[in-house]
């Protein structure tokens, strides 16, 4: 209990005076305080009076104490704050803040805004989101009686994505702190001191040469226009903002799309996003407008005439596809679904394949998702990881294996950092560089072929030393004795010295011995060995032995491969991973869909490509890319959904222009099984249409029933009815297993597969982002592989 402005209020332990004020609806002006950052006390605007305390303590960094008597605003404080802000403004171009014609000017935007730097009154790129102006208006600053100093720093625009004009910087330190505290990178710092202080890098290096990953966290934290994203910089205040979910990777960041003149001009992370909490990465923050606004986006349906693709109407194109598809036998048709489609589109696509065509030949175009689903179904009954982002943040030890997480899932590193701050130990297996070395406690640089021996040795050591969770293993696990027996054949010394891993095993095992929850994140590098499923099994074994079953997270790179799998776009599973060979399930689905279903499992992605090459598969319906070139030789009929011209055009017979994720409604499911909404910010480009609509149109032409939906919410309703896992927004729960199964170790030598992990994190629907966004290419060329 303390008194604030004469009112007695309760407060939480550890809260600062500023937090207490905020909780009670009292505004105190601040510039350097930030909800996600620790108190700093740089701007001095939040000075308050506290009885029995000397001077004017800053509210942001003074802990609330029982019995305090606080005054947050009176004439004296107002004068003081005004003086402080005047001092700040004496080094910040401020004609836009104190001009007497401000109101009219803001309304009509009379001056052009195309200059490179702030020279006069209307050239600030941050117009519309200036915290400095807000505070100045609150304090009623009308003139500044201190001579103005223009620091005359050169404009810094040699780096990709964002410009820096440190003449506008007020040294609040938010950018430095967000980079250090939240992102754990520290690519910028305060350099020099006093009047010469400037945010910068060591020896004035460029950000590219420094360790910046261009996540844009600094740009979003900046209260002024000092840091500004280059694309869309001069569009001014957006007409509207739409919150949607990013589909470029599987983290499920919520983004605010800024729309001006019916065009997407920028994307910013949403502070309320459950997965990202105001953070984003280079792709989500900077690449989306360029990706979806490309001039060569597909705008019309195309059909092949005399060897050339020519534009046509939707009616003709869909009729053609309907006619042709009905001529093939069910087993001659295959469907490959893009892992970037919405849940609704994926659901309708598999329904179309099963109900209208009558085949189970449907799969996701993704090697990694295939392996993940196969192993996870085996382990837990559903094709999803067991962990959530909350599990990462609450973990006491974390292992990351086979992933360049800083490039593929930068936002997850924020959660890992949060865990580390609370004392979690983090080990990285498979990659080593300066930056990751700093972000983890222990780096094990080994080839994928050594993953399996390493994990087998870890299991052996855990079992031999009896450092596993005995209660959990006894009560919740089956086959422990089988596992134990299989470990008898493993000779620690032999394997560890052979693979040069002897010293690291002990380190890893002792890390997992710290009590509490564990979490393992595995990435697509495990595909570089013959049986990646074995690695997933071993990882789950470790978690089970340690009593942390809910800690396995596959670092899937594609935006919605989780959801596409959940929706049953798989050769052997119906929606919700219900087995196709189960007669009860089949008859249930036959009832709801009012159609006869084939119980013969379909062909997988790889098998379909092989069949297409050999001529057994005659027609292929593909909604993405990423298919190896030259594999579709014998194909008779190829239908494509795409957003850009693709290498498959030569073989395609019909091409439908699809909407990008910023242009469609629907839901997608993130890596932590979180179902989130997509909201169309803009209309699809040209005549493009969302995938689900295209499929419905073709189904209608084929006189199929059950494809008549007004919008995606109706489709989602049907999904919720049919899929026992998904019942709405939020994380869907795993099946409640009575007992987990431990898998025996039958192999410790792993042959190399012919797959080389190709940086998937640069694709959207098979479109290479680095091709469309030249700045991303510059960055990835510099940071590839770490």
């Amino acid at each position: 209990m303390l008194t604030i402005n004469g009112k007695e209020v309760e407060f939480k332990e550890g809260a600062m005076v500023l937090d207490v004020a905020k909780d009670n609806g009292i505004y105190i002006p601040t510039l350097c305080a930030h909800s996600e950052l620790s108190p700093f006390g740089a701007c001095r605007l939040c000075l308050v009076k506290i009885e029995k305390m000397r001077g004017f303590p800053p509210a942001c960094s003074t802990p609330a104490v029982k019995g305090m008597n606080i005054i947050t605003g009176d004439d004296e404080l107002h004068r003081l704050r005004k003086n402080i802000l005047e001092l700040i403004l004496s080094e910040h171009p401020h004609s836009c803040i104190i001009c007497d014609q401000k109101e009219l000017c803001e309304k009509y935007h009379i001056c052009p805004t195309k200059a490179g730097r702030v020279t006069g009154c209307t050239f600030c790129p941050n117009r519309g989101r200036c915290e400095l102006k807000k505070v100045a208006e609150y304090l009623g600053i009308e003139e500044i009686n201190i001579p103005f100093i223009y620091k005359n720093f050169p404009l810094e625009r040699d780096d990709p994505f964002f410009d820096r004009d440190y003449n506008l910087c007020i040294l609040c330190g938010r950018c430095v702190r967000v980079c250090q505290e939240i992102r754990g990178i520290g690519a910028i710092a305060f350099t020099k001191r006093g009047h010469d202080t400037k945010i910068g890098t060591a020896f004035g290096k460029s950000h590219l040469d420094g360790e910046c990953r261009f996540c844009g966290a600094c740009v979003d934290a900046c209260p002024t226009g000092a840091l500004s994203a280059r694309a869309g910089k001069w569009h001014g205040v957006p007409d509207k903002e739409v919150t949607t979910t990013c589909a470029l990777c599987s983290v499920g960041c919520r983004l605010k799309l800024e729309i001006k003149w019916n065009k997407l001009v920028a994307a910013r992370p949403d502070e309320d996003g459950p997965a990202n909490r105001g953070q984003a990465c280079v792709r989500g923050r900077f690449c989306i407008p360029t990706l979806v606004n490309g001039k060569d986006r597909l705008k019309y349906p195309l059909v092949k005439r005399e060897g050339r693709l020519v534009p046509t109407t939707w009616d003709e194109a869909t009729r053609l596809v309907a006619d042709r598809l009905s001529k093939y036998l069910p087993q001659e048709v295959g469907f490959l679904s893009s892992p970037f489609m919405t849940n609704e589109a994926a659901y309708l696509m598999q329904k179309f394949a099963r109900v209208v065509i009558g085949t189970n030949n449907i799969d996701i175009i993704s090697d990694f998702a295939g392996s993940v689903i196969e192993s996870q179904v085996q382990l837990t009954g559903v094709g999803a990881g067991t962990g959530t982002i909350e599990d990462i943040e609450k973990a006491n030890w974390i292992i990351i294996i086979g992933a360049d997480i800083l490039t593929s899932h930068p936002v997850l590193t924020v959660s890992i950092n949060r865990a580390r701050k609370q004392g979690a130990l983090v080990s990285m297996i498979g990659l080593e560089n300066d930056l990751t070395l700093r972000q983890v406690d222990n780096c094990v640089s080994i080839e994928p072929s050594a993953y399996l021996p390493l994990l087998a040795c870890m299991l052996k050591m855990i079992v031999d030393n009896e450092t596993f969770d005995i209660d959990f293993v006894n009560s919740k696990c089956r086959n422990f004795d089988v596992l134990k027996r299989s470990l008898l054949d493993i000779h620690l010394n032999k394997i560890s010295s052979h693979c040069n891993i002897s010293d690291v095993i002990e380190k890893l095992v002792s890390m997992t011995n710290t009590s509490g929850r564990g979490c393992i994140l595995y990435g697509p590098k495990i595909l570089e060995i013959e049986h990646p499923q074995k690695i997933i099994q071993m990882l789950f074994n470790i978690l089970l032995l340690k009593g942390s079953p809910s800690g396995l997270i596959p670092l899937i790179e594609e935006g919605n491969s989780q959801g596409v799998g959940d929706m049953g776009a798989l050769p052997n599973f119906l929606p919700g991973y219900q087995n196709i060979s189960d007669q009860n399930t089949i008859s249930e689905f036959e009832n709801t869909w009012a159609a006869k279903l084939s119980t013969e499992p379909g062909q997988s992605y790889k098998a379909m490509l092989k069949a297409a090459k050999e001529g057994a598969l005659k027609a292929l319906y593909v909604t993405g890319r990423g298919i190896p070139e030259g594999t579709l030789g014998q194909l008779n009929f190829l239908v494509l959904h795409d957003i850009y011209p693709s290498p498959l055009f030569e073989e395609a017979d019909v091409v439908f222009p699809a909407a990008a994720f910023t242009e469609e409604d629907g839901t997608i499911t993130s890596v932590e099984r979180r179902v989130q909404f997509l909201d169309a910010g803009v209309k699809p480009t040209g005549m493009a249409m969302p995938d689900w609509k295209i499929i419905c149109m073709i189904a209608e032409k084929m006189n199929a029933k059950g494809f008549d939906f007004a919008d995606t919410s109706k489709v989602f309703d049907e999904i919720c009815k049919i899929n026992p896992l998904v019942s709405g927004q939020g994380i869907w729960a795993l099946k409640n297993l009575e007992k987990f199964i431990l898998t025996p170790v039958d192999e410790t030598v792993s042959a190399k597969s012919n797959l080389v992990y190709n940086e998937l994190s640069r694709y959207y629907r098979g479109v290479d982002l680095t091709e469309k966004v030249s700045d991303l290419k510059i960055l990835y060329d510099r940071t590839a592989g770490g």
Binding site: G186, T191, K192, G200, A202, F203, D434, R438
Partner: protein, 165 residues
Amino acid sequence: MQKLIDEAIKPYEGEKGSLIPILQSIQEKCGYISEDAFSVIAQRLKMSEHEIYGVATFYTQFRFTRPADHLIKVCLGTACHVKGNSLNLNNIVNMIGIKEGEVTSDYRLGLETVHCLGACALAPLATIDEEYYGNLSPRKLEKILSKYTKGKAGIKDEESKKKKD
């Protein structure tokens, strides 16, 4: 250099809050803190080099460029100014090819200006290291500088002295 940096860091390895003593120790051993030193410290302390640079530039005690072997200080105090020492400064600039505040590319000579060296009777005046050279004229300057630029005659040239020993 690498060895000296390693030696400087070693006693502090694994110790928290040891950044400033490490920086001091490196400057003591190497004469300055090089760019390479920053990346080595960053690696060892698991810190960002930018953060370290921020700490180091806060203090005026740290130098980040290699100092010259011999430092020329040209006086521009009142007496020297009246006696036209700025002309001598121009001459030096022309002769050794660096501006005030710079160091020659072979690190032999550095140039600075000062305001009064306290020997106005000798104006116009310059010092090189601890040696005073008064009543400077262009010809005299050329003679003096040639000792340092060519490294002959051994005056004050400690390195060549050591070699002789």
